[in-house]
Symmetry: C2
Subunit: 326 residues, 2 copies
């Protein structure tokens, strides 16, 4: 049997050679940064969702719309960009209904108001397969100020927004697992999975502070590893410094979940960024200014690889660096 490449190998083998333009950042970043003729650069990112793969046919259509839009806004935030507009292509299955599309459009309308952006184009086609949605988001950032994955320096501190691992637990709740948690905790975690809160107020404030940034979509360790690889560095994370929600602590306490599950769980759409150690106070002030919790969880190292120190001084064994959504 021939082994086919996985997502990362496929991109590296077939698509990265097409992305020679510096704007593409080698396809190793969250978004492309296109030079403009003025004081701003254009930042662009695209994501696709497939019914039955990324969402279930009976998921609320408005939430599907919001998740599709928000994961792209999270990518823009990770570059320090302010969202401006988006394009949407929709492949409609044979059994699509006007009700579904109406509720989907309502979800977009709500988020357009929340995030101050607008639909500007796209395409609608039919498919014999499942509903397939693709969204391209466009933002802007002051020229030269886009934050890259590949800018971290050894000794930089690693910061994350919000709490880590909730969305992966939320997916387990939605699958009927983690029945031992309180209903409040279960609801909280399910919401965290269903409806990401992209850090759009923090993102545009990162230029000038952050040396590198990424959004936590594949899992903390996997995404930190992306920063390490593109920055040609390693990282040391203190497990007990990683911010956890009350619900996640409850799950951890109950023994149904291990810290490794939280550090490798995807879909949180928090931001991870690196900044020089002497910026600590500025960043604490920034957290207050934008009302986003920011926690320092470790530092970048010359030694390659992501290492996680546990409270007892031992090191967390990492099986495969996080989950892959492909």
């Amino acid at each position: 049997m021939n082994k086919r490449p996985d997502e990362f190998e496929l991109i590296a083998t077939y698509f990265a050679p097409l992305a020679a333009d510096p704007s593409a950042l080698g396809l190793t970043d969250d978004a492309a940064v296109l030079p403009g003729t003025g004081t701003d650069e254009i930042v662009m990112t695209a994501d696709a969702l497939v019914a039955g793969v990324h969402f279930l046919p009976d998921d609320p259509p408005g939430q599907v719309a919001q998740k599709l839009l928000r994961v792209n806004l999270s990518d823009l935030a990770a570059k320090g960009a302010t969202p401006k507009a988006y394009l949407l292509t929709v492949a409609l299955p044979a059994d699509w209904t006007a009700d579904w599309i109406g509720a989907f459009a309502d979800g977009l309308a709500r988020d357009q108001e929340t995030y101050g952006i607008s639909l500007v184009g796209g395409d609608t086609v039919s498919t014999p397969g499942p509903m397939t949605l693709s969204l391209t988001a466009v933002g802007s950032v002051a020229a030269g100020c886009a934050v890259r994955r590949a800018g971290a320096k050894a000794g930089d501190r690693i910061w994350v927004t919000g709490t880590i691992g909730d969305a992966a637990l939320g997916l387990r709740v939605l699958k009927g697992q983690l029945a031992g948690l309180s209903q409040d905790a279960r609801d909280f975690l399910a919401d965290r999975f269903r409806l990401p809160q992209p850090r759009v107020t923090l993102g545009p404030r990162l230029p000038g502070h952050a040396t590198a940034a990424i959004d936590v979509s594949d899992g903390l360790i996997a995404d930190l590893n992306h920063v390490c690889e593109t920055s040609a560095l390693g990282a040391l994370v203190r497990a007990d410094g990683v911010p956890l929600s009350g619900a996640a602590r409850q799950a951890l306490g109950g023994g149904e979940v291990a810290i490794g599950d939280l550090l490798t769980g995807g879909d949180d759409y928090e931001l991870l960024f690196t900044a020089p150690a002497d910026r600590h106070d500025d960043i604490a002030e920034l957290a207050d200014a934008v009302s986003v919790p920011l926690t320092e969880i470790g530092e970048m190292t010359e030694a390659r690889g992501v290492h996680v120190a546990l409270a007892d001084g031992s090191e967390l064994e990492i099986a495969d660096g996080g989950y892959r959504h492909f």
Copy 2:
């Protein structure tokens, strides 16, 4: 049985209300025009292709890639924009092969060289359905110079590039029809369907000449009707002034095809534009300068609707204004 909206109704009902931003041009244009901070504006357009709907699983993958890219470049050209970059999302079916993707990427590589653009981002996901491809193309145009659909004036002359109706005949050839044509004619027409030649050299020269423009993708009459509706005008076309290829004349002469089939056939990806009558000589010079055949086929009128005058003085009866690809 509930009647579901068609593509145009669906867009008008559910998506146009989301496109309040002036950049979106009400979703009635080929592309969005986003203001920049400098001397250029950003022009963006997106199209999707689905295996089994828009291409066949055994079509050459390189040609599928080129058609996907070129239909978007045609949209940019219709706005007067110069292409810069593109993003691609790919939903891979369960039976995808590295050979298919490799040949698809080779097609993109060839066109990147031809058109001087580069892949800058996108997404790769899996699907239980057919291969689904979505491409967003980005171009630039001098600020304020983008050509809209809604700019035609009564009395403006209507111009088209190249020849009209070939692609629709090519599709019939590929379905085994039009067997009475010469092999050369059949090959020519099939190529016209398989591989559009977007008018990228002409497009960026249209600002300053054209008052409105569109690319001929739904069919000459349908696309001219889009210009008429957005410009609140009508049009009168002289059927014997519409440029036809030798192969199309052969088909017309053989009686297997009527002039109405050519004027309503889609997928030509020629440009149609309007310009003041006194620009005739400038436009003839422009045709020479960019080596693109340009033919004046009629004029814009205060009287609404698209009217086609036949050589015998009668008017062509138009059943439904062109075909709809949905």
